[in-house]
């Protein structure tokens, strides 16, 4: 069944279909309609879950951490400063290896205050040990929320499902609402390896020492460094798991096929624009226009950002003349974070392309098609003239 609804409502339907059991959230624009919808599902009895209206985002993720540790499927959602208020808990959830799913409805962060879209919120948390997946439309939002639980529970790592504030969260689009029975067949109930249980007591997340230590039976237990190494190894493993889940989902529902990067007109492209989120669909129009001018250009939206799918990036970009990275965030004082990641992935490759970086759309600054056209055309026509530093698009002063 297709319905026409907002991106936030698409996410709420994903959470409902995934049968999340504990939902904790604190309001922040532009996430609010998502959690409002969930509270409505729960209060109307359409969804069997505990909805906990906490007093802060810090507590929202705390509730999810504890609920997940007790064996329940947990969900929260936030944006911008709400995500930053959770930061300590983000690292905790990853370190504790809890398969929580959180929607991050991307918004710029203060100061100065902005409520509008960019990617600085999620980007600032790329090193927290979470998986990050970006969505480009409403169908991807609902499908990704469901797949995110599968992925999180397979590798015991939390997942952020990121989508653009307003551009996706508050716009209406048709999307397929899959039958709950089919989703149940795809996503089995959550079975934790261990959950807090008085019949089988354990002391979770306790103090570790710099070195490894024997337990009371004399068996060596891992120390902090081994535990963190496991997290990294499992995050890298999550790349293959993501591909497997995408395949399984494609077979079951006929959607997917591009778990890492979603290419458009890239087959014969000499130039490839790269970005996160809904901007890749905006760039498709630009690519079409430039193709009419005879420029062999395509665009690829990065879906899986952490763990970073290096090999997929290499496969897509090596042999091209230039990769042009458009970003709604940056590592202040350096360059766009995605730009840096792409350069790092390509560095070992002999036939690597030039890589350009455009910073745009911060704090909701309008991204004009003309700006995209001009900059992408310049990158393609004079690739050697751009240089290795971010170029800001749309600055007015």
């Amino acid at each position: 069944m297709h319905i026409i609804e907002s991106g936030n409502v698409a996410a709420a339907h994903g959470v409902k279909l995934a049968r999340a059991q504990v939902i904790a959230a604190y309001p922040i624009t532009p996430q609010t309609p998502l959690t409002e919808k969930l509270s409505e599902f729960v209060e109307a009895g359409e969804m069997k879950a505990q909805y906990i209206p906490v007093e802060s985002e810090h507590s929202a993720l705390s509730v999810c951490i504890a609920a997940s540790s007790t064996g329940a499927r947990a969900f929260t959602a936030t944006s911008a400063n709400g995500l930053l208020y959770m930061v300590e808990q983000l690292h905790w959830a990853a370190g504790a290896r809890l398969p929580i799913v959180m929607c991050v409805v991307n918004r710029g962060i203060g100061a100065p205050w902005t409520v509008w879209n960019d990617h600085q919120d999620a980007m600032s948390q790329r090193d927290a040990g979470w998986i990050q997946i970006y969505c480009a439309d409403h169908q991807q939002i609902i499908d990704t929320v469901i797949q995110a639980y599968y992925l999180a529970e397979t590798v015991s790592i939390p997942v952020m499902v990121c989508y653009d504030g307003y551009i996706l969260s508050h716009t209406y689009m048709p999307f397929e609402l899959t039958d709950p029975e089919k989703i149940d067949a795809f996503l089995p109930p959550y079975k934790p390896a261990y959950a807090l249980d008085p019949a089988n007591p354990a002391n979770l997340n306790t103090v570790t020492l710099p070195d490894i230590r024997p337990d009371i039976r004399g068996q060596m237990a891992p120390g902090y460094m081994e535990i963190r190494h496991d997290l990294h190894v499992d995050l890298r493993r999550a790349i293959d798991v993501t591909a497997d889940i995408d395949k399984k989902f494609s077979v079951a529902f006929g959607r997917g096929g591009n778990p890492f990067l979603e290419p458009y007109r890239c087959d014969d492209a000499e130039f490839v624009a790269v970005c996160l989120g809904s901007l890749s669909y905006h760039l498709r129009d630009v690519v079409d226009a430039l193709r009419k001018e005879g420029i062999a250009v395509g665009v690829a939206g990065v879906r899986l950002y952490r763990p970073f799918p290096d090999q997929a990036v290499i496969n897509l970009l090596v042999g091209r003349k230039a990769a042009i990275v458009f970003e709604k965030a940056l590592s202040y004082g350096n360059q766009g974070a995605l730009y840096g990641d792409i350069k790092a992935a390509l560095y070992p490759c002999a036939d690597r392309p030039l890589v350009h970086n455009y910073i745009l759309g911060l704090g909701g600054r309008e991204i004009q098609t003309a700006h995209l056209l001009d900059s992408l055309r310049t990158s393609c026509r004079t690739p050697d003239a751009i240089g290795d530093k971010p170029v800001w698009l749309g600055l007015k002063m």
Binding site: Q50, P53, H58, S59, V63, L196, N203, V207, L209, R213
Partner: protein, 310 residues
């Protein structure tokens, strides 16, 4: 109250192992051992960083026999909320969820989450073990450090401000049960927990915990000092049950009787060595005024000492 527990009727089941990492003379190790006996085995604990984190052992060794979720400093009551939410979602309505935080983890960094959980009516028991400073990090002042106490962040003349009255703040949420207790009166604590276990919704305990290392006294005097704090009327044992306040145990016996001068208590600890006679006198006057208030209230409300006065 039901019949009082004695050392002879206290459960023999030990849920806290001996030889744990608590300091010698730690009041918490007394209160925790007794409290877990009252809570029983069907309990899940939630603990933020504090002395208790250390007492409970370093990975992979644990000093307690109950499941415990260690959580971040500010999140204790939210953690308890999450455990409860999951238990409800999984159909478990019998397991007790007990959060244990220190005074900093309760009165300072943890008060927002605690206030939220109390307002939501979460069905848990929150224990604040109040050793009156950030002892685990090396004796820095907290919201419940008493006036005049020297800490590593009030190093010369002692804390200038008064102790934050956390039980009153929590009681103002209108929750069903708030109690104070002391490590030096473990049976009073035990019986209060047994009573709290028969109730539902948020229940709050504020336990006074003598700390030899942080207060500056010899470990063998821990119990004695906790008693002196009560006998001087400085720390009072009471409970607020469904809005009704009453003194209990050793504090109730002080009504109409003689309180020990607070000077006796203050002189036993090096943390109060910076107090002038004038400040001690001021503290004594504040205690006297508080107790005048109790006795006046007693006159106005005959049952302040409770119908089952000893």
């Amino acid at each position: 109250m039901a019949s009082k527990t004695t050392v002879l009727t206290l459960p023999e089941d030990e849920l806290v192992h001996p030889g744990n990492r608590a300091c010698a003379g730690c009041g918490l190790s007394i209160a925790y051992r007794i409290a877990l006996k009252a809570l029983g085995r069907d309990t899940i604990l939630v603990v933020p960083p504090s002395c208790l984190t250390v007492l409970q052992g370093l990975y992979p060794i644990a000093a307690t026999q109950l499941p415990c979720l260690n959580v971040t400093f500010a999140s204790t009551a939210a953690g308890a909320t999450g455990v409860l939410g999951a238990l409800r979602a999984l159909g478990n309505t019998s397991t007790t969820v007990a959060a244990w935080a220190g005074d900093g983890g309760t009165s300072d960094i943890g008060i927002q989450a605690l206030s939220g959980a109390c307002e939501r009516g979460e069905d848990f028991i929150f224990f604040c073990y109040d050793n009156e400073a950030y002892m685990n990090t090396g004796v820095q002042r907290s919201g419940t450090t008493p006036q005049g106490a020297i800490t590593t962040t009030t190093p010369f003349s002692g804390k200038r401000q008064q102790k934050k009255d956390v039980p009153s703040i929590i009681a103002a949420h209108g929750i069903g049960y708030v109690a104070t207790a002391s490590a030096s009166y473990p049976l009073d604590l035990f019986d209060k927990i047994k009573k709290a276990k028969t109730m539902s919704g948020p229940r709050y305990f504020h336990i006074h915990i003598p700390c030899p290392a942080g207060w500056g006294f010899e470990p063998r005097y821990a119990v004695k000092l906790g008693r002196m704090a009560v006998e001087s009327g400085l720390f009072d044992l009471y409970e607020i049950e469904n809005g009704k306040w009453r003194l209990t145990g050793a504090s109730r016996k002080l009504i109409g009787g003689k309180r020990r001068p607070v000077k006796d208590y203050l002189e036993t600890q090096s943390r109060f060595k910076g107090l002038s006679e004038k400040r001690i006198d001021k503290i004594q006057k504040e205690i006297d005024a508080k107790w005048d208030g109790y006795e006046q209230a007693m006159g106005a409300q005959k049952d302040i000492a409770g119908p089952d006065a000893e």
